[in-house]
Amino acid sequence: MALFKLHLPILDDIKSKGLKPAMLAKVDDAVVRITAGLNIGDIRSVLRGDTAPRPNPRVKPHADGFWLHMKPTYYHNLVTPLYPEFRLGWLSLYFMVFETLTGVFLMVFYTPSPLVAYENMLNIMSNVPLGLFMRDLHKLGAEWMVLVVALHALRTFLTGNYKKPRQFTWFSGVILLILTIFLSFSGYLLPWDQLSVWAVTIGVSMAEATPTPWPLNLLGEKYLGDPSFIGTAINNIMRGGPQFNASGLLRWYLLHVIGLPLIAFIFIGVHYYKVIIHGHSLPPEAEKVGEDSAKRVPLDQRTYFMPDILTRELFYVALITFFAVFMVTAGGYHAPLEPHADPLVTPLHTTAPWYFLWLQGMLKLGDKVIWGVVAPGVIVGTLIVLPYVEVGPSRRYADRRVGLSAAALVVVALSMLTFMGTPWYAVSSSADQEVVAALVPQTHPGPLRTTPYDELQVGAYDAADWQSAPTPGLKNLLRQYEIELNAAEARDAMFLDGHGRMTIEQWQGNLKKITFDVTWTKPDGKPGEFTQTVYLGADSNYGD
């Protein structure tokens, strides 16, 4: 007696139909299962661009499959072209996936500990095949994602999509904007280099300024001996202690790889569900004022997801991926890695990442509490309540002059604040240091380090005398030195009659020591002097 009966239907098929037809039928069968409804013939007809047969097999994957269960089977003809959506929502989603994939790759080679994190970064860049490539893609993707999500928010504002009935879609979007920015920012600390620790230090010190309101401050004073204990607690939680330490790094890491992505994925689900529930809105001018016809698409106005929308969406994904890959290779974009974090050395020009420069700019306006805590809170609050407060029925541009002007004003203000956030605006360090920092900056290689090593001939040189330098590289460098000195004299009234000297010594077989010596006269006639030493190795490879 057989314990079980093995029956392979394929054998019967082969017997009755012959080998080749039977195998083809089997493959077709598998394709139908994988695509949840389309067989090979259907796919080929989609790719050929045939009009859909009736009944339309192309809607089955939406009904039966998981991946397309939320995707509409057809769109209104008016929302298929680039305008009005610019595919920005779709690209936001794509970047979320892109960042997850490249991020998981990096996670494999990373340990969140101050002792080894930086070494891990070096290892990723020097020892892991495609490590540098993946790191650059992840970093570039993070910056582009912030940009794309912000532009998506801007476009939904401009076309008035936050209005009834999409208030909650907008709200969930604001949450996603905040999550995106914090996802990007929380990744900043992980390399544990000077840039990361100091950029995050600026951010945390802002949060630390959170005031402890009355009467809590009195209670705090009485029982904890600390009237601003809320700020202190926030600081301790975010840094792991008064100073950034191992616990702090671990927290930011967990936030970056688990906490924020988890919340983001949930909110993306909510957000997209809402989008589908209400339908993709038509361009504002295509609807009557106050009417929402997104859900009622006349038969003759339908564009089916397959193949039209699908190929458009895939096309933009292919395009942006190509761009990203091109940028990190031929385009020369590389995620920076500065020297190892050193809490004792404050770099001269620390800036926040570009999407926080506006905040850094606001901080230069004055009080930390008002500009660093209250103002950002007000901005986020305004964004959230916007659709519930601005309830004008019309989405048309002509009817929204106040709102659109306000948006334009906000964009201009943000750009100005962003400029103010850069070191070009209101830097407080002294002119002599700036002169040397222009030649050997702390945040990127700069002119000296990219001058060919061999052209830095041993000797003592005068910036004013740049024309008699022995090599073109030196000439160039000394000329820049002289230009910086002149600029400093023009800019700073405390810096008169500046002189620059540069001494190059051979320090080890393949190491040179370069000493910059700036002397000047102060307005009261007293001399000033500033010296800075830099070492440069023959193989240090700053060129690229």
Binding site: L115, L130, R312, H340, D342, Q508, S540
Partner: protein, 272 residues
């Protein structure tokens, strides 16, 4: 739509081609990154050395008498300091351990120095982070090439030379045995790599079994001692049949002291 599909496919193919190109170049890129980073590490080490170490070890690591030893010296890199210290790891490990842990107690070699080498790594209670210790190690190790190149092997005092009339002291066969086998105290020669002491076994050179007897018969008016002496310091003066001249090193005369020569001869004379 066809245009989109075609361009999209081309873009994907182009993306894959770039990735493939990157992949092919990875080994070269990775090694250049590696050397680039070591270069930057040396730079950082140089700055740290200047602020922390130069006061004792001298600005160029040349050492300061009665304060701290030279760090750019050949004996640090050729292994002799390691040996006197009983260190079994590499020079790099030795340097790292010395810097990170310091020398709270004077080592035998530098017992006369009044100052102690401080502990530097935060891991052992010093002021510097572990990565800074690595930069210093890279900086110190960067002296290696120059230090080793500068130091030619010390000339042998009282070399025996190539003059067969040089008077030799009394030989010690036991020490000659050790010298012959590359293990001698105060001198080692690779004779046994080319000469077997078993009859009939030819390595690079002839077996020296029974050489005490055959040496006396090689040249008419040469006693065994004189022939052996000549064979070592002037190997080509008499080339054994079936061997080519020039195979045996011609420089032993400059490398051996007269005592070494006498001892080796004494040892060979025991091979009857």
């Amino acid at each position: 739509m066809t245009v989109r599909v075609v361009i999209g496919t081309i873009l994907i193919a182009a993306t894959m081609a770039i990735v493939a190109f990157v992949m092919v170049n990875e080994p070269a890129r990775m090694s250049s990154f590696e050397s680039g980073f070591t270069g930057r590490s040396v730079e950082a080490g140089a700055a740290l050395f200047d602020t922390n170490c130069a006061i004792c070890h001298g600005v160029a690591g040349q050492g300061i008498e009665n304060v701290a030893p030279a760090l750019n010296a050949a004996d640090l890199f050729d292994g002799s300091r390691l040996k006197s210290f009983g260190w079994s790891g590499t020079v790099k490990d030795y340097v790292r351990a010395a810097i990170a842990g310091g020398r709270p107690r004077a080592s035998a070699a530098f017992a006369g120095y009044p100052n102690r080498m401080p502990t530097w790594s935060q891991q052992y209670g010093g002021p510097l982070r572990p990565d800074q210790i690595e930069y210093l190690v890279d900086f110190v190790m960067n002296w290696q090439t120059a230090a080793l190149a500068q130091a030619p092997p010390p000339p042998v005092v009282d070399a025996v030379g190539t003059d067969l009339n040089t008077a030799l002291p009394a030989g010690d066969a036991a020490r000659g045995d050790l010298l012959f086998h590359g293990k001698g105290p105060g001198g080692q020669f690779p004779c046994s790599a080319c000469h077997s002491l078993q009859a009939g076994q030819t390595l690079v050179g002839p077996s020296l079994a029974g050489i005490a007897t055959s040496a006396a018969a090689r040249k008419p008016d040469y006693p065994a001692e004189k022939y052996l002496h000549e064979s070592v310091v002037l190997p080509n003066a008499y080339v054994v049949e079936t061997f080519n001249p020039g195979l045996m090193p011609q420089t032993f005369g400059a490398q051996m002291t007269r005592q070494d020569m006498a001892d080796i001869i004494a040892f060979l004379l025991t091979q009857k």
